[in-house]
Symmetry: C2
């Protein structure tokens, strides 16, 4: 099946979507900070949100709009998260949807709104008001790349991905972008990800599949274990490809799911690679746990251990720190059965050091990308997580951010 | 009550205890790495151990010896954790108790054994065998300070504390030492702590009180959130002060508990101050939670957030990251009620920014020691945690350790 899913070399907007990104002045350095996506046709939509109990105003408003359905456009700003701003924050989120609606000729309830950036300082809403008509004008000449740039915060590169495939003989495109490189943890993080597709699909199927695929992709990455107040993944499908809607359980629907997974996984990995201060990309594969949940606990404990992440930064095959994290993960463990591999090479077998020469293990961990495999050998539970190392650059960046951003106050 | 508990300026061994620390060659740099403590009289004992499911061999052996009671001596090595060494590890731990027993004229089951250092490499047991008779000879001239030095790993300073107080009119002394500065998390960490007292007390009371006090002291600190395979706290009481054993519920017993807490809290704080790369000491006080457990979840999430800890390192009063961690802690939270204070100054009130000028908040966070107070304002649950910041030095140190230590292999 996968062979007829084709990754495109450059991001391409699916039929019936337009996008733009500009600078509104929220970011003081003049970088792009306001983006819009609009579908020329009605859409069905799906979204997943942060599970943080502190939710930003745009998250709460968008959840409300999503429940009513009939979403036609997104408006997104970066540079300010509009989180923890009380009633004013909620009002500002509403205003953003109203500005977009009036410039686009839609209802405010048809607009999905997201914000990302600093927490706890009021959004400069006047800047958004002034910029919205301008960005709508840009929809003719701007595009997905500009939109993807407008949502960046500490990201060093903008992240896009497009795949095309056939559903019922018709070519459909799924295009996505994601941002975020700090506050990245499983179950949504300072992460925004937007997907548009011209596939025709029922809203129920889109929502079920989005939930499923987000769980296997964005919820399996961890940079620093912090989960943000603003995380959102949105998918809009407008049916402009005119394929026949795939039926529940059909090969075509599986096909769509596979294509969506392709794009989401690609972007999830891009997020980890661009993690704040990250110099390495590590795939953690846990197997043989007594349940999938136990495997997840192990993968997450290892991915979030500062000591383990520091050792990777130093290209140090420190399996002792790994097994230590396995032990406190909360999962059932028999220490005499734990195997640990860096790439294909055993570091520990049955819980004790393997005979592999340390130089060979070090060569594995020195790679820009490697796999850490942990087999608990007591059951069939599996889980996989993508993560990065912890570097001095991460600390250097994060010890400064806030003070710099509000120095004008 | 507290006023008659006196902290001594230098560590003093209680009556009937001797201690020593020497270099056995486990550490290649010639630093002290083997320590012994012996009581000249029978003792009652108490201990708490790591809750990590991967337990080092000496932890498992000492648990067995503790159950039988009648502990007379401790033997401790640093430089090698004797963890994840399989049957050989358990055998080596047994050998350590046998070496100590034969040199001291005791039974192996009367010896409590601890190890700390690198995980997963066999203990150089021959070095311990050769050194044990030598260290026993040193018991006449060595002392608590040498012992405290012999248990250090990444610690920059050795940590000791002594208090004296009166129980039933007799002066008793409690003296302790602790080591550990990485892998420090609540519920025991790469942390060893040893306490000796000449107080007379029943074993039941000593065990109950130790558990209680460890929970309020050592289990309330966090440096990096990693919990080790070797954590152990031991208390030996030999009754040499000849006080009348305090009765259950008596003022005298409360008194002993208070004195023990005094020493344990002092050493717990010393551990945090000497945390790997730590430049700050932060007291996190959570109040108004719907339960003590919820307060603990909040305190721990904040204390373990890399982003929060980086901001402290930069003297950055970033309450947005704090409230974000509060939100994902798992505790019940009403974001419109959360108050956050740095020292006495409000950073956020009712979940939104407080009018305190940022410069004043920054001055609080710039201090070497400050309190972060979080009031959830929805209940009566409280918890307190001591923690440190996350620095580039922490990463620089931990990216190298293992490779350096086993470079000879």
């Amino acid at each position: 099946m996968a062979e007829i899913i084709t990754k495109l070399r450059t991001a391409r907007l699916p039929f019936g979507f337009r996008a733009a990104g500009i600078s509104s002045g929220i970011k003081e350095n003049g970088a792009k900070d306001l983006g819009i996506v609009i579908s020329d046709f009605p859409t069905v939509s799906a979204a997943t949100f942060t599970t943080n109990r502190i939710k930003a105003a745009p998250v709460r408003l968008s959840q409300r709009h999503l429940r009513r359905g009939d979403i036609r456009a997104l408006i997104v700003n970066s540079g300010n998260a509009n989180a923890c701003n009380g009633k004013q924050g909620f009002n500002d989120a509403k205003l953003m949807t109203q500005f977009a609606a009036s410039s686009l000729g839609l209802e405010a309830r048809q607009i999905f709104v997201c914000s990302t950036g600093i927490i706890g300082y009021p959004l400069p809403i006047e800047k958004v008001r002034r910029a919205t008509p301008k960005i709508v004008e840009k929809l003719r000449v701007s595009g997905w790349k500009d939109f993807s740039r407008s949502i960046m915060t500490s990201d060093k590169v903008n992240k896009v991905c497009s795949v095309k495939t056939l559903i019922g003989g018709k070519e459909i495109t799924i295009t996505g972008t994601a941002k975020g490189s700090g506050m990245i943890a499983p179950n949504m993080a300072t992460m925004l990800a937007f997907f548009v597709t011209d596939a025709a699909i029922s809203e129920t199927d889109l929502r079920e599949n989005t939930k499923l695929v987000v769980n296997e992709t964005f919820n399996c990455i961890s940079v620093d274990g912090d989960m943000s107040t603003n995380d959102t993944v949105v998918v809009l499908a407008n049916g402009a490809a005119k394929n026949r809607r795939p039926k529940k359980g059909s090969k075509d629907l599986n096909h769509f799911t596979e294509a969506l997974k392709n794009v989401m996984l690609d972007l999830a990995k891009q997020l980890v690679r661009d993690g704040e201060g990250a110099s390495k990309f590590i795939r953690i594969e846990v197997e043989g746990a007594s349940s999938d949940l136990d495997a997840k606990k192990v993968a997450r404990a290892v991915a979030e251990s500062s000591l383990v992440k520091c050792s990777w930064n130093g290209s140090d095959p420190n399996w002792g720190r790994v097994i230590d994290a396995v032990g406190y993960s909360g999962a059932r463990v028999d220490e005499n059965k734990v195997d640990i591999y860096f790439g294909p090479l055993a570091a520990a077998i049955n819980g004790v050091v393997a005979p592999t020469p340390i130089g060979k293990l070090k060569a594995q961990v020195s790679k820009k990308e490697f796999t850490l495999r942990i087999n608990l050998n007591i059951g069939k539970g599996v889980h996989r997580v993508f993560t990065s190392d912890l570097s001095e650059e991460y600390v250097a960046y994060n010890r400064l951010e806030y003070a710099l951003k509000i120095q004008g106050r």
